[in-house]
Structure formats: structure tokens, C-alpha cells
């Protein structure tokens, strides 16, 4: 056992763990959180449009706009992430000035995640009891008030759990982005594990990713459950 720890492989692995991991973990977290944030900024209004614009619902939006929106969302959702990353290189360069590095990977991540968010928001908002929306209308609520004061607040627990789902998915994508230019734990796993056969380092990176997913997931679930006032007997 002592021999194993003294071995060169382990020593270099520990070295890398100490020198490179803290930064990689930090990069992974901030890329994930920022990308999710921007994906929500774009995806939430689109999801709202998809539901509120439907016939007989709150907003009057021409059918063709919803149709095009649906096609764009489906299109983006069907492109595998790595290919999407390459496809959006020009856009990434335009926005960030470069296509490599951690910040640059935010652009493709946002583009991959916002259609996902739009769909999830759509499904969350659909759960809102239509009778409650009608009640708000019967009290003189404007379309904007219905969206902001009824649809979104009433689906908060579901929205939070979908945000959690988005975060964990984006975390996975961000690791994948390590293959072509992205930073963080994914890059370490690929650089050391795939190119230099240092499986121990790769294993550590994977374990870190698993732990991050677990943390995000359990925190998200807890907040979602806590926020839900439909559950009885909670003070």
C-alpha cells in the first residue's frame, strides 16, 4: 500500500490534484452557472411565449411565429453538442474574440441550453391550472400580469427543479467542451486521461464532476420542495 502511494504515478497525480484542480473546479462551476443563467435569460421568455401564445391562452401571437420558434428550438435541440460547438465557432469568435478557453465555451453552452430551458419552462407553465388563469382574467388581470403574477409564481417549484436539471445537463456539456478548447474538469480529464494515459487523474476529475452534480441536484431539489406551498402541513 505504502509502495503504491510512493509510486511516481500517484505522486504526479497528487501534484496535479493540488495545482490544477482548484482552478478547474472553479472554472467548471462558473461556466456552468453563467451559461445556465444566460440560457434562462433567453429560454424563459421563449418558454412563456410558447405557452401564453397558444390559442385561447393569454397572449395573442400569430401562429406562424410560434411555429418558427418551435422549429428553431427543435433544430438546436437535435444537434449534438460537440457539433454545435463547432458550428457556432464564428459566433463565439464574434462575441468573445476567441474560440478557445473557458469563457469562450459559454457561448456554445448557452446556445445548447436555452432551447432546453425553453422546453422545460414550457412544460412547467403548462402545469398551471387553467382555471386559476381564468380566475385572474375574471378579476381584470392583463396578459402581462397573468404571466408575471400567476403563471410564473404558480409554477416556481417546477421551474426550480427544471433549472436544477438544466444546471446538471450544462455541467455535463461543459465537461464535454474540454475536448475542443473548453476549460475546467473536462479538459483535465481529457488531457491527462486520454492524451497521457494518466487514468488516476482522469478518475479524480470524474469523481469531482459526480460530486458537483450531486451537490447541485440535491440543493436544487431541496429548494424546489421547500418552495412548494401545495404540500400540506408545512409551517
Amino acid at each position: 500500500m505504502g509502495e503504491f502511494f510512493a509510486s511516481e504515478t500517484v505522486q504526479t497525480a497528487l501534484d496535479i490534484l493540488k495545482t490544477e484542480f482548484p482552478l478547474a473546479i472553479w472554472e467548471t462551476i462558473y461556466v456552468t452557472v453563467l451559461s445556465t443563467f444566460f440560457a434562462i435569460v433567453i429560454g424563459l421568455p421563449l418558454g412563456v411565449l410558447l405557452v401564453a401564445g397558444e390559442k385561447g391562452r393569454v397572449l395573442r401571437i400569430p401562429k406562424w411565429i410560434l411555429h418558427i420558434l418551435n422549429i428553431i428550438i427543435n433544430l438546436l435541440r437535435s444537434i449534438p453538442f460537440l457539433i454545435l460547438m463547432i458550428v457556432v465557432f464564428p459566433l463565439t469568435r464574434l462575441i468573445m474574440g476567441t474560440v478557445v478557453g473557458t469563457p469562450a465555451s459559454i457561448v456554445p453552452l448557452v446556445i445548447a441550453a436555452f432551447p432546453f430551458v425553453a422546453r422545460l419552462v414550457e412544460s412547467s407553465l403548462r402545469e398551471v391550472n387553467p382555471n386559476i388563469i381564468e380566475t385572474a382574467q375574471s378579476m381584470g388581470a392583463s396578459p402581462m400580469q397573468i404571466i408575471v403574477k400567476v403563471m410564473i409564481p404558480e409554477s416556481i417549484p417546477s421551474l426550480i427543479s427544471n433549472v436544477t436539471l438544466t444546471i446538471t445537463t450544462v455541467l455535463g456539456y461543459s465537461a464535454m467542451s474540454g475536448i475542443i478548447g473548453g476549460g475546467g474538469l473536462g479538459k483535465i480529464a481529457i488531457n491527462y486521461g486520454y492524451y497521457r494515459y494518466q487514468y488516476l487523474v482522469m478518475g479524480c476529475a470524474v469523481i469531482c464532476l459526480i460530486i458537483l452534480v450531486q451537490i447541485f441536484q440535491s440543493v436544487g431539489t431541496r429548494i424546489s420542495v421547500k418552495s412548494d406551498k401545495r404540500l400540506k402541513h408545512r409551517k
Binding site: E134, A136, S138, M139, G140, E154, D228, K229, R234
Partner: protein, 337 residues
């Protein structure tokens, strides 16, 4: 005053249309508790939703205090809806807001200041008897309590008209009673015009002053509740007024003559009517069917009495019964059921 003029509503459905309302004209004076009753699918909800334009009539008008609602812009209509509020069978509270915030909701919509809204909401929740539940969430309340919150919420914007669509249908009989008396109380206190949609005659009996009977989208009978209740004209009205088993009792072949007695709030519970009639008038009556209930100390419902003896006995009995206040009696002739 609410004037409904030649209102029709047709829904397009796959493979044709459904005529939910056909040429309905009604006038509902201010301060009335007006019942609209009908079987399931009669078009009651559609009618009440047309009154506040949640549903646009296909043709016809809804005029409230001289204002034709159909001619208002969306913004004007939203303004007007603060005067015509509604409560529902399913309560439809915002589940993620506590009671206080639920009642504040329409005030927020109206752009009321937060402090004032909270004050008004607290006051209203106290008025409906939920002063201790301000911070509770709807899921923590019983159905009856939720409906009280919904009533408080409906009253927040000082409406003139309260529409109740099957407001008590999801509640047990006792809770129904308490909600109905609350609505009656509020009507008396605030001078509201209340429209009560229901499929239960008992609800109409208890609080309404006038009633319209809706059947397949048409008004088949309209009038003062006691009159409609005492002598229903239309088949539909009879079906609603006479409880199950009544028709059967009538149709059974018998020697006796039949008298239908309607208790319309008579304080008859203390005095055993049949026994008294036997003692005072020497008329022997058998109860063939009875469906009465006491609300407070008043009796409501129907009774079918069989009286043996000739024509004379019947007339004596009817005359006796009619002398009692709030009781209506008539002979039932078999052929017209």
C-alpha cells in the same frame, strides 16, 4: 341592473357546432340574489361566463348599468371586471400564495398600494371568519375555508355583482349551508347583486329571491322562487323541484287522492302537521313521499300526501294546509303527473 338581451353562444367543435345558449333574455335587478339552475350541460357556466365576457357571446348583449360590455375595449373590460367578480366550484386560489396574499391579489392587479391592500385583505378575511388564517396556504385549509378565502378575494375590489358558479358543489351539506349563509349575509351587508349558478334546487330555495331555469341553453321558466317552487310549470322545473322518487310515488295506482304540500320556509318543524290536521279537521293523511329538510327552524321541501275519502275531504285538507303560512298545497291529478 344586469340586462341580458337575446344572448346566444355557439361553440365550434369538431364536426359541427354546439349551441350552448339560445336567445337568452333576462333582467336581473340590483340587489337581487338571482338563481340560475339547470342540469349539467344546460349552459349555466357558459351564461355566467358571458356575463363578465370571459366568453364572448356569439350574438346578443350583456348590459350592466347601461354599459354594453360587448362594446368595451380590453382595458375598459378589465376595469369593469373589478365590479363583477366571481367565485368558482374549484375555489381557484393561487396555491403558492398565502390567504392574505390571495386576497391582496385583485388589489395588486388594480394597482392598489401594498399597505392598503393588506389592510383591506385582513379586514375581509376577518369578515369571512378567517382572521386567524392570514398566513396559511390554501393547501392547509378545508374546502369550505378555501371558498371563504375566494369570497374574500372576490369582494376585495368592492364589486357590485358577485357571480357564483357552483360555489358550493364541492362542499358537504353543512359547509354548503355555512357558505350560503355567508353569501346571504354579505349580500345583506354590502348590497351586492348575487347570481348563483347551481344544479341544486336546495341552494336556490335557501338564498335566492328569483330563479331562472335553464335547459339545453334556453330559459324555460323564470320567476319568484317561491312561485316557481310551489307550482313548477315546465317539465324541467318539475324535474328539479320534485326530488327523485316523487314521480314514482305519483304514478303508482292508488285509491287515495293526492295532495302535494310544499314547505317554503314554514316554521312547521315544531308542530307535527299531519297529526294536527288529523286532530283538528279529522282528516287522515298518509305520507307517500317526503323530502323535507330544516334549515334553521324553517322547513323546506316537498311532501306527497294520500287522503282517503271523497272530494270533500280533499278540499278541506287543501284549505286547511293553505291557511298555514309558507306552505303551499295543491291536488295532484294523475294524468298530468
Amino acid at each position: 341592473m344586469i340586462e341580458i338581451q337575446n344572448l346566444s353562444k355557439t361553440f365550434p367543435v369538431s364536426g359541427g357546432t354546439v349551441e350552448a345558449l339560445k336567445d337568452i333574455s333576462l333582467t336581473i335587478p340590483d340587489g337581487e340574489i338571482y338563481g340560475i339552475i339547470g342540469m349539467s350541460g344546460a349552459g349555466k357556466s357558459t351564461l355566467v361566463r358571458c356575463i363578465n365576457m370571459l366568453e364572448r357571446p356569439t350574438s346578443g348583449k350583456v348590459i350592466i348599468d347601461g354599459k354594453d360590455l360587448g362594446s368595451l375595449t380590453q382595458a375598459q373590460l378589465r376595469e369593469e371586471r373589478r365590479n363583477i367578480t366571481m367565485i368558482f366550484q374549484g375555489f381557484n386560489l393561487l396555491m403558492q400564495r398565502n390567504c392574505l396574499k390571495n386576497v391582496c391579489f385583485p388589489l395588486e392587479l388594480a394597482g392598489c398600494k401594498k399597505k392598503e391592500a393588506v389592510e383591506r385583505a385582513t379586514e375581509l378575511l376577518e369578515l369571512v371568519g378567517l382572521g386567524d388564517k392570514l398566513k396559511s396556504y390554501p393547501a392547509q385549509l378545508s374546502g369550505g375555508q378555501q371558498q371563504r378565502v375566494a369570497i374574500a378575494r372576490a369582494l376585495a375590489t368592492h364589486p357590485k355583482i358577485l357571480l357564483c358558479d357552483e360555489a358550493t358543489s364541492a362542499l358537504d351539506p353543512q359547509t354548503t349551508q355555512s357558505i350560503l349563509s355567508l353569501i346571504k349575509d354579505l349580500h345583506d351587508k354590502l348590497g351586492l347583486t348575487v347570481i348563483v349558478i347551481t344544479h341544486q334546487m336546495s341552494v336556490v330555495e335557501q338564498i335566492c329571491t328569483r330563479v331562472a331555469i335553464l335547459n339545453h341553453g334556453s330559459v324555460v321558466e323564470e320567476g319568484v322562487v317561491s312561485e316557481v317552487f310551489a307550482s313548477p310549470e315546465s317539465e324541467e322545473a318539475k324535474q328539479l323541484v320534485y326530488p327523485e322518487g316523487y314521480q314514482q310515488a305519483i304514478e303508482t295506482e292508488r285509491e287515495e287522492h293526492l295532495i302535494r304540500v310544499v314547505f317554503n320556509g314554514a316554521s312547521a318543524t315544531q308542530t307535527p302537521l299531519i297529526a294536527k290536521m288529523a286532530m283538528e279537521e279529522n282528516i287522515i293523511a298518509s305520507i307517500l313521499f317526503a323530502s323535507t329538510r330544516s334549515i334553521g327552524d324553517k322547513a323546506y321541501g316537498n311532501m306527497l300526501l294520500g287522503i282517503s275519502g271523497g272530494k270533500e275531504q280533499i278540499e278541506k285538507a287543501i284549505a286547511y294546509l293553505r291557511r298555514i303560512p309558507d306552505i303551499h298545497a295543491e291536488e295532484v291529478t294523475r294524468d298530468h303527473g
